[in-house]
Symmetry: C2
Subunit: 613 residues, 2 copies
Amino acid sequence: MTHIQERLHHWQGVPFTKVSIDDAFWRPRLEVLKKVTLTTCLMKCEETGRISNFAKAGGLIEGKFEGIYFNDSDVYKVLEGVAYALMTDRDSELEAEADRIIELIAAAQEPDGYLCAYYTLEAPESKWTDMEKHEMYNGGHLIEAAVAYFEATGKRHLLDVACKMADHYDHVFGPDKRHWVEGHEEIELALVKLYRITKEERYWKLALWLLEERGHGHGVGAIWDKKEWGPAYCQDDVPVRSIEKVTGHAVRAMYLYTAMADVVHASGDPTYVDALHRVWRHTVERNMYLTGGIGPSHHNEGFTHDYDLPNESAYCETCAAIAMVFWNHRMNMLFGDSKYADIVEREMYNGALAGISLSGDKFFYVNPLASKGDHHRVPWFDTSCCPTNLARFLPSIGQYVYAQTDKGIAVNQYINSEAEFLVRDGVSVKLNQKTQYPWNGKIELTVDAEKSSYFSIRMRVPDWCRGYNVQVGGEKISGLEALTEQGYVVLSRNWSQGDTIVLELDMPVEIVRAKQEVQENRGRIAIQRGPIVYCMEQADHAELSYDEYTFSAGERLYVDHMPELLGGVTVLRGKDGNGKPFQFIPYYAWDNREPGFMQVWIREKEEPGLYSY
Amino acid sequence: MTHIQERLHHWQGVPFTKVSIDDAFWRPRLEVLKKVTLTTCLMKCEETGRISNFAKAGGLIEGKFEGIYFNDSDVYKVLEGVAYALMTDRDSELEAEADRIIELIAAAQEPDGYLCAYYTLEAPESKWTDMEKHEMYNGGHLIEAAVAYFEATGKRHLLDVACKMADHYDHVFGPDKRHWVEGHEEIELALVKLYRITKEERYWKLALWLLEERGHGHGVGAIWDKKEWGPAYCQDDVPVRSIEKVTGHAVRAMYLYTAMADVVHASGDPTYVDALHRVWRHTVERNMYLTGGIGPSHHNEGFTHDYDLPNESAYCETCAAIAMVFWNHRMNMLFGDSKYADIVEREMYNGALAGISLSGDKFFYVNPLASKGDHHRVPWFDTSCCPTNLARFLPSIGQYVYAQTDKGIAVNQYINSEAEFLVRDGVSVKLNQKTQYPWNGKIELTVDAEKSSYFSIRMRVPDWCRGYNVQVGGEKISGLEALTEQGYVVLSRNWSQGDTIVLELDMPVEIVRAKQEVQENRGRIAIQRGPIVYCMEQADHAELSYDEYTFSAGERLYVDHMPELLGGVTVLRGKDGNGKPFQFIPYYAWDNREPGFMQVWIREKEEPGLYSY
């Protein structure tokens, strides 16, 4: 084992099937997801020909390909979401519908394993000629859906289709075979998943080979030739080991780093480790919005130059926020540092969650941090990656709550839930987590161990929390144990049935200022409380115009939990210097009432600080 | 009533005799004050000839004046403290000792009412020749002691002495009589007190005349001629109505503004109001330390230039911190704005409280915000104004808890206590206040009204608190009522027996940065939690040298209440980037263990912020 490998933590995720969520914040969202979002997405896939494309490609019905060449992927992503929903709550009707669609997908697969409805129907002679046409991107999502559906139902049909397709890739591409730089990363992380479930090494090796293909001039296709985009658009400008900066299309970049983290988890390759550290810092230190949003530009759906974080014109694709979760969750598993789980949290409660309406049937593709009033969620898009990404992200949110460490358990997210793990010597442990997070910073854990057993429980102290306190069995902990290690309080002891932990996180209202380099936010402040980023919406300020309001950092705010408002939110209310009341609501909940302006970064009312100090 | 007068609130203080303190923080301090501090001070006054000076001046014993010409005032201040202690807890032994001393004081009064042991004994021919010789300063403290002792015991003897002395002043000085600019203000506020208890208008008028004497070139004495001091040293540079800036000796300035506020309370004089507002802003915005300390310079025991706030060489006389309480309490009564009560709190828990050891028998005169390890509390000083000021300040601390407003009650300080008031129509109301302040931000009030009655209860939301919440009768309040008015939540309703209010103040650990103009603190941060300013002491960091430590603003801190440490303190513990543990303790509690360095402002470990935003 190398020096670098020793630094790796190799934590394991705890599948959401082991985490039963019974949470005032998340439970209603999961219900809506299953009852509304999944059926809406399936219906839209049907209506827009995304599903019948497979039937046509399989020769079951007549017709031309409808829509865009990457539309297969939406069906796969909804199927993945359906699979996750079925895992926690079997539903024969939903499953029958999934089975029906799977039959169509299987029918669309060509005898050699090739599967991409667009090429089969429209341009069979042009397969594998333009690397930006998402053939393997589609394939990657098929694999993810297949793995999920197999895990949910035990049914192998879609998994067999996926393996046959992956084997086809492996047959056509690889060392001494054809080069391939998939224009939209996704296949790499999917192949790792396929390897994990099938234990077939060739899938893992193919993923690694695909990563290594990048940055050597092998890319071919229209996008590579476009001067204003070029190879950086799809991260083909430098070999992955040499990555210094986040570039190009945001979702593609995140999927690439996710796959790199997956690969490192097995290989420990220090050059990958260093590249991941470099690009992570470059992303969060210079290119991430307060909401966790990334990719400011509509032009390339991605990155521009450092600190370019415009609010009103922010792109911040919902998929990119979700992809940040994927990547940061892997980084947390690799390095055992809570700063990655902090980002997961930031996306969960802000950047990603804003993408879906409270009703579950309207979506943002683009998530600006300011709007004059003309930006609204809609039921579907021609390119509908975001709704379908939410459809698979939300039902699997439970997987981010816990991780299995080398010495026990890490508590990464605070959600009212019951979870089950095996710790050392195969002892089964249940953890009951009680909390009113994200509105309150108190978390109570009760340990229910099969038998008294020595292991460690790590609890994350989030980035936004400066002061905290921990009690075990009603007694505060003391000494070095109370202090954090890589952002966690680590409680190592012999845990017995009924042991309790109470973590109290200070959850004050915070005034946030951007780095000086972020020109857009100079003279502006934003409000955060706990993990929740706040915004101001016209629905609460009929009399105001866009960007008219100025806010003084010194104003006191009434922390007001409103169970009836916007699905239950804690709002922050105050009165400005002129006695006018104002109100901030959580950013994720905006555009769920009358249309109007919205702003996260408010112009600061410049007032000389009262005290000199 | 003029426009200006309408802006005045004319709140009334609630005497501490109406506030029974039963508080984990303050109760032990009040006990120590009575058992240790008062007796120590009396003993020291005896030992140093301060008491026998009166006997000598009265011809009861032979001998020369011992000590400094203002030493009479220390005896008066201890007597005032004794009176306050007797008010809440009659003690015949202590009262007998006070009566004995009062007899000596009375004996020292000359037939015309003049009373100043130094002049009587040493220079009877030089009376009233040097305005800086504290003749009226001594007299002011006599008046304060006399008023207090009369209120405590009903005994008139000392009050008669005081009246006779004040009448003598009134006889000698005034319009068309002699000019007088008392070099050390104090007499003015004392005369207002005397007016309030005797209802004799001439005392109030004399106070006003003395204020008006300043700034017209009437000052005579050595101090006026000293170039490096001049009239500004004792606030004789401009007429009080024209004051723009805080100048000169800090305690003198504060006593002057206190008297001005007293006078405005009755007169509503808009030129005084404006002057007070100007000088208050100038004091806190440019010339106040984080601890509430004022007056950076040893040279003049006072102010220098704006933003001159050195830490290690800070003077910050304990008396000046106490005087800030006097002034700000009056300002709060006048203007009904909580920002003045915020300063009272800042001094109560920091600047003033640091002046006394936990044992109650050692004192700081000078309160630096950093020390290499050579600054320690001592039992007494040649000029011992600070111990004797603490002796009268602490037992009367209950007076800052409540105020009687025009429409009800204001809760200014949070101390576990029971208090009694009359509200509208003479209805008697008891308020029971339960809190673990200053360590916890939750305050529970229970109303015990004689009969159901409509009035308002104002609760201060402190300057350090951005987020708060209020429940009345277990239900959170809503609408505009929840929002602060001049820093108070105002709850107006029909209050009935057993009604409850719960105020929850966010009390997070805060990183404090000074204004850019404060050169000394550039690149430094300090820590505050609730009203408590923290410091780092060598006693917790044996391995460190002075100013060696650098602290990163991003460190997480374990909020650790240690009931056994330093009389029960909440410490803040963390681990720095190198894994080394560190600890902050409340500033007021420093120098109660092994000697060593202390620092409030720690060098900031400059780290690029993690997020761009």
